[in-house]
């Protein structure tokens, strides 16, 4: 066996095998064993489109533009080719947009919102939309200018924002003081101290009131005992009031007598002017006395609900 020939044979066989594998792989990669899927795109303008422009789906190239030309009515027809395995991304509701970024070449972007929609048939014609960023720039610049002018106005030296920021600075500066947020809100440490002081006092007051309430409870119990016990204050008062009523009834009857007397006296001395004058004064005095007595009775009855008819009526 010729060793040299064997080595060369081995080398050649291995090289040929590798070359064959690579060629088969390359043919597979380029879709030689697959059906090619064709698509026609109708566009208003072929600006930026050339054979070789990639068609991308989700950022991955799935096909390329092969030719472009005019149809009979002057419209632009762009033909693109896809590998059979990539045709599944093209659906009837797919949209085709021509992207022309600032950096990098133009590309046709495919968007298929619903992958369950019916597949596009071979040689279908779709509409190509254009999203030309460079056309939107002037409008964008105008808007940015307006925004910048506003910002400039807001941030001018004596502007509102500066004043607000100064205020905020003062407030936050106070907030770092002894009394914190309270000082920031009230404006000075003295005022804040007053608030805290009153809070302290209120607390002390509440403590005292608690004690007082306890004492009151005790007193109320004692008062109950004192008032309503057998031979207590209430019993005695009742008795004395009965006496008062008797006295008042007497007063009423004597007043009635005086009234009658006075009526007679008025009749008798109708012509005597001076006398009448005197009697009128007397009458006023008596009225006054009766009013006082009535007030007294009312006062008593308000406190002690025994009487039904407190009024002392004058004729």
């Amino acid at each position: 066996m010729n060793k040299l020939h064997f080595k060369v044979g081995l080398f050649t066989a291995a090289s040929l095998l590798l070359a064959a594998i690579f060629i088969v792989y390359l043919l597979h990669a380029r879709g030689f064993f697959e059906k090619t899927f064709h698509l026609q795109l109708a566009a208003a303008s072929a600006d930026g489109v050339a054979p070789g422009v990639p068609v991308v789906f989700s950022g991955i190239e799935i096909g390329r533009v092969t030719t472009l030309g005019l149809n009979d009515s002057g419209g632009i027809i762009i033909r693109a080719e896809f590998l059979g395995r990539n045709a599944k991304w093209l659906r009837e509701n797919s949209t085709f947009t021509l992207d022309k970024p600032f950096v990098g070449g133009a590309k046709i972007r495919v968007e298929s919102p619903d992958l369950d929609a019916p597949a596009l048939p071979d040689n279908a014609t779709m509409l190509l939309l254009t999203s030309d960023i460079s056309k939107e720039i002037p409008a964008l610049v105008e808007r940015v200018k307006a925004i910048l002018a506003n910002v400039e106005h807001l941030t001018r030296k004596d502007g509102e924002i500066n004043a607000t920021l100064a205020n905020v600075k003062t407030v936050t500066g106070r907030m770092t003081g002894e009394y914190g947020v309270l000082e920031g809100v009230l404006g000075s440490p003295e005022k804040a101290r007053a608030v805290t002081d009153s809070l302290e006092k209120t607390r002390a007051l509440i403590t005292k009131l608690d004690g007082l309430a306890l004492k009151m409870d005790g007193m109320a119990a004692k008062t109950d005992q004192w008032l309503f016990a057998q031979d207590g204050m209430a019993e005695q008062t009742k008795a004395s009031l009965a006496q008062v009523r008797l006295m008042l009834d007497d007063a009423q009857s004597s007043l009635k007598k005086a009234d009658a007397l006075m009526s007679n006296a008025v009749d008798i001395s109708a012509n005597v002017k001076e006398g009448t004058q005197d009697i009128a004064a007397l009458r006023a005095e008596i009225d006054d006395a009766v009013r006082k007595a009535n007030a007294l009775v009312n006062e008593i009855n308000k406190k002690w609900p025994f009487a039904r008819d407190p009024e002392v009526k004058l004729p």
């Binding site: 040299l4 070359a19 390359l26 990669a29």
Partner: protein, 264 residues
């Protein structure tokens, strides 16, 4: 006046010299090509010399060459990847790697490798044969040197450069895949897509033609340079020097023309 005439004369002599060399080279190539069409060329003896030539040019240096390819590929892939990452162009890294290595750099380096190793050897051998009148002796014995000495060298050179550049390219593709995606099948789809994008028919044909031209350049030029040697022993180194310079210029010219055709 004399000076001007002298310089014009020397320029004319140089141009004539270039034309003579170029003409000699292409005439030699034409004779070799015609011989290739001749049925008598396809005999066992010629085939044996071709096999020997392939062995000495390609098989013998295969392990060294592959190791060298591995290191160079790994280095360049790493540089391209890290640079692409720095500039945020990672998506172009694999394409860049394949284009730089497989299409341009590795064929060029293969041609240089073979030119330095085999081309210089061929040049020296042919020059010595010429100086020692061995070629005349061979012709006298009815062993045409073209058929049994030169044509097999040309064929061997072309085969060697194409095969070695192809193997180096495949190794670089593998290295590129491993560098970008690591040992996993995850990147197979995108890598296949990139390869499909780059290697269309014209690129593949151009690559093979370029490698074949490299192979021819690294064998044909040394052979013709050797045949030009005057029959004086001290002219052998001069002949090798001239031959190697021409080989270098030829390789660079082929590379430049191929790049220009591809990208301009």
């Amino acid at each position: 006046m004399n000076f001007l005439a002298a310089s014009i004369e020397s320029l004319g002599a140089k141009v004539v010299g270039w034309f003579t060399v170029g003409y000699g080279m292409f005439a030699f190539l034409a004779r070799a090509g015609l011989l290739l069409l001749d049925r008598t060329t396809w005999n066992r003896a010629t085939f044996d010399v071709v096999v020997k030539q392939v062995y000495f040019t390609a098989v013998q240096i295969l392990h060294v060459f592959m190791g060298y390819t591995l290191v160079i590929s790994w280095l360049i892939i790493t540089i391209i990847l890290s640079t692409a990452r720095d500039f945020g162009l990672t998506e172009f890294a694999s394409e860049m790697t394949i284009r730089v290595l497989v299409l341009e750099l590795l064929p060029f380096l293969t041609a240089l490798f073979i030119a330095l190793r085999s081309g210089s050897a061929i040049n020296t051998e042919v020059a010595l044969m010429k100086v020692n009148s061995e070629l005349d002796a061979l012709a006298h014995c009815k062993v045409p040197p073209m058929q049994f000495e030169f044509l097999p060298r040309l064929i061997g050179g072309v085969i060697s450069v194409i095969t070695l550049a192809g193997l180096a390219g495949l190794l670089a593709l593998l290295m590129g895949y491993l560098s970008i995606y690591g040992v996993s099948a995850a990147g197979f789809e995108p890598y296949t897509r990139t390869i499909a994008k780059i290697f269309d028919f014209t690129i593949m044909a151009g690559l093979i033609v370029k490698c074949a031209l490299f192979g021819l350049a690294v064998t044909l030029i040394p052979v013709t340079a050797g045949l030009e040697t005057p029959k004086k022993l001290f002219m052998v180194p001069v002949s090798v020097l001239r031959g190697m310079m021409r080989v270098f210029f030829a390789i660079v010219a082929i590379e430049v023309v191929s790049l220009a055709l591809k990208y301009i």
